[in-house]
Subunit: 290 residues, 4 copies
Amino acid sequence: MKELITPCLTPFLPNGDVDFPALTSLVKKLDESGVTGIFPLGSTGVFPWLTLEEKKEIMRCVRNNTDKPVYCGVGSTSIAESIQLSVFAEDCGCEFAVLTPPYYMPPDEEGMKEFLLGVMGKSNVNFFLYNIPQFTGSRIQPALLDELIQAVPNLSGIKDSSGDMRYFSRLVSLRKDNFRVLQGQDDLLLPSLAVGGDGGVCGLSNFSDSAVRILESFLAGDVPKAAEINEHTILPLMDALNSSNFPSGYYYAYYLINRLKGGYRPPMHAPPEESAAKIRESVKSLVLSK
Amino acid sequence: MKELITPCLTPFLPNGDVDFPALTSLVKKLDESGVTGIFPLGSTGVFPWLTLEEKKEIMRCVRNNTDKPVYCGVGSTSIAESIQLSVFAEDCGCEFAVLTPPYYMPPDEEGMKEFLLGVMGKSNVNFFLYNIPQFTGSRIQPALLDELIQAVPNLSGIKDSSGDMRYFSRLVSLRKDNFRVLQGQDDLLLPSLAVGGDGGVCGLSNFSDSAVRILESFLAGDVPKAAEINEHTILPLMDALNSSNFPSGYYYAYYLINRLKGGYRPPMHAPPEESAAKIRESVKSLVLSK
Amino acid sequence: MKELITPCLTPFLPNGDVDFPALTSLVKKLDESGVTGIFPLGSTGVFPWLTLEEKKEIMRCVRNNTDKPVYCGVGSTSIAESIQLSVFAEDCGCEFAVLTPPYYMPPDEEGMKEFLLGVMGKSNVNFFLYNIPQFTGSRIQPALLDELIQAVPNLSGIKDSSGDMRYFSRLVSLRKDNFRVLQGQDDLLLPSLAVGGDGGVCGLSNFSDSAVRILESFLAGDVPKAAEINEHTILPLMDALNSSNFPSGYYYAYYLINRLKGGYRPPMHAPPEESAAKIRESVKSLVLSK
Amino acid sequence: MKELITPCLTPFLPNGDVDFPALTSLVKKLDESGVTGIFPLGSTGVFPWLTLEEKKEIMRCVRNNTDKPVYCGVGSTSIAESIQLSVFAEDCGCEFAVLTPPYYMPPDEEGMKEFLLGVMGKSNVNFFLYNIPQFTGSRIQPALLDELIQAVPNLSGIKDSSGDMRYFSRLVSLRKDNFRVLQGQDDLLLPSLAVGGDGGVCGLSNFSDSAVRILESFLAGDVPKAAEINEHTILPLMDALNSSNFPSGYYYAYYLINRLKGGYRPPMHAPPEESAAKIRESVKSLVLSK
């Protein structure tokens, strides 16, 4: 079975506070959509811009509004805080905790291993690792991943958002029955499925069914159809959204489509007008089709 | 129709001179293989380590020993030399000249455009562009490529060796009837076909039919079979070869399989023993199956 | 007047807890040394590996054990937490709060500005900015700094740890009477003084007086003497310490010199033996001279 | 004795041909200026954009028009061509050949060593190495340099244009009586002198005496005066010139000051107007003072 998971946004009010009613509504909508799981507190959910208390409240809110599996981000630079979030995820019934290597000062391989083992050993929740070297400054090397798979019974998979398909292919060759390898970039979902990946965590699925349709076409054996959706829907949409500093374009599009006033927690801010215009144009078809 | 082109090696004698008998033999073997074209004087052919006269002699040698289309590298930091090589390629009957943007000091976009237009305007041969930013220090931006496609009637395609599938996907969305987009990394051939690319330029095809078999499986609609060849043949082979500084592992493997003493032109040199042992192990099945 | 500030370590017990008695002792020693200020909760103090409560307790401990100016790190990815730490720094009597741009997802310039202004507008403590792009992923551009200097009356300086002397020189050309530009790399202290910088924040000053002696020689007009200390004391010491992943070498040396058992908070861990041997050798003269 | 060497431009005619009368005039002017040597065929002289024949003619032209030491660039990706240029440099009486590691595909350390030794062993001219990793893709490591200094009697020095002062300091600690370490970035000349470097190769000295004046102030013991020239003359001038893609700003300024029509060899081209305006403004004082 292949996965298509939504890294859900953290909606904000115009004053920068978390908008829990909007989050509730988003989660309920996702619960009825074609996605197979919901992932709060990822990068798209701007987890580092949030306080510990906000993170817990968001976790509870998502858990309480869906029956789908919840993959909850527990990343932090503090090992104590990552442990606390993992235990909390387990306690409130999330199926998976998604763990980022520590960022700011990049650890060496031994330090990364100690940190990851230190967190995973302190709770019984199932874990996903989250590789995103462009933000953490370090990469989970295939050899280390292999070692962790052997050593940690509750390690269930990895989400790779590096954008590096050559690296992703090496991860795929490490997968096991109970260990899945997911792609974190929407525009690499199709290539990732082609090389044997287990699915994707797709930011566009917050407001578009394009990734779900790619997966369906691929599973139906229709690669050209999947390629067509990739080329004509995913690529232009992503290019418009990413014309603004990540992930502000996703927030702008989401607010627009859901007719929310919406706000931005600094350092995130509203896209500059040139980018905003591109995004409005690109989501027109999505808004109309709602 | 999809392409599978071999970026052919430049065999050397132990003293570092070009080994033309070995090159002749290699080209004849490729001519009888499943590949659709031969590309001398690419990065795998270590074109920058060669003199102008050697480049011309290699071009002639390849042209004279195959009936398949010849894609001949004409890259140089000197515009005069790139023009001279293109004219020579045309005169000796190569179907395509493959042009690299100038390297060493990375040009800005306007400078890259002037250089490329300056070369392509001086001969009637058909051109491929060659994007390999890890070596040239600059990338052919999709917007510039689009402009060049419109402006240059004899521009027939691009080979992208950046390793960046997200970029490659954007190139694919620019392709036309007479403009093809080829993947330059063997381990990205399958994902590239999946998103609609026109084929690959695959270094392993100097001594392995794995890339050809991936293409055949893909064209037959058997993506899982292609994925299996990718995972179990291409990935381990590439990882072994690239354990030595590129492209020395390819030369070592080629010499081994073809029972040649072989040499290396500085700064290329024989792989260190640890890497050599990996390569010997990884090509064992290839040698046995010959 | 030139500054020489110590970015003080956060000593740990073998079990990974903060060792407050050791910190107290370190601060008292620095208070009696030739340095002009103490900077807890910088990168050398591994601030991201600590919890919010630990940060506050460290701040209090440093403040209570020195009469020298305290420059206290208030960096966080959460604007709320950076504000909270700044207010706390003000309340407990620190002279300066040292503010890092948000890390993990690199902000664009507008977002960085909003974040920095948002924090600096919420307390009356004097601020230093802290530029360390190798860890934060983004650089405080000279144009933005210039704008902030004009706009923020309580902005007193910047510490640049980028290691980029060309950039540092540009910052120096922006300095004002009440705005100082400090170098964050020990081995760039002397060049920084030469181009007009206001001093340095020097990690080695946790256990060596070499940086203080460079400053004294420079102020006495003896550049060759300063160059000699730089070449024969600073460089070999730094190279030994940095043979282990930053900043573990500093901790190992500190524990050794102060005869502490000492521990490491993950992802930091004890240097591997090869590096540890280098460090032991390099600090021999320091230990003997104590 | 400290050195101040001019990496001289290669003037072009509007049609892109080398302008030998202008080159002759430039060299004669430098011969009468305060610089201690002339370095044709460096990066500022756009050596990679030239043909082999042009390089030889330029070498002869410079040699014939100055009595100062000539440091002649002999860089190439082809070892045969670098050898040929070194021998030519020796034959036409240049004091030094300046050798770049091979570029395009970055060699590993062993390959770089074989290439450099292979060239330096084939002529009796004295050699300088030229470290410029931003263009060659690889760095001459201090350990390799140390090994080469021991092994090659005719190795006289290194020019470091990396812009990395921390690395430069390590090179300085390797210098010997007959081995000099020169800074290749004008805005790092002063810091380099401060840490014990032997001088600089300064592009601005093609048309400005600012670098010479910094050296004179430093040698006279007046560091603040040197810092003032650095801050108020070198930095604004470099920032204006580098607002256009390197090294086109240097050419534009040179043509302007010398009232030449002047041209650009692709991929170099005239600065865009916004940059050109900045350069005109910045060189006004230089033009008036001529």
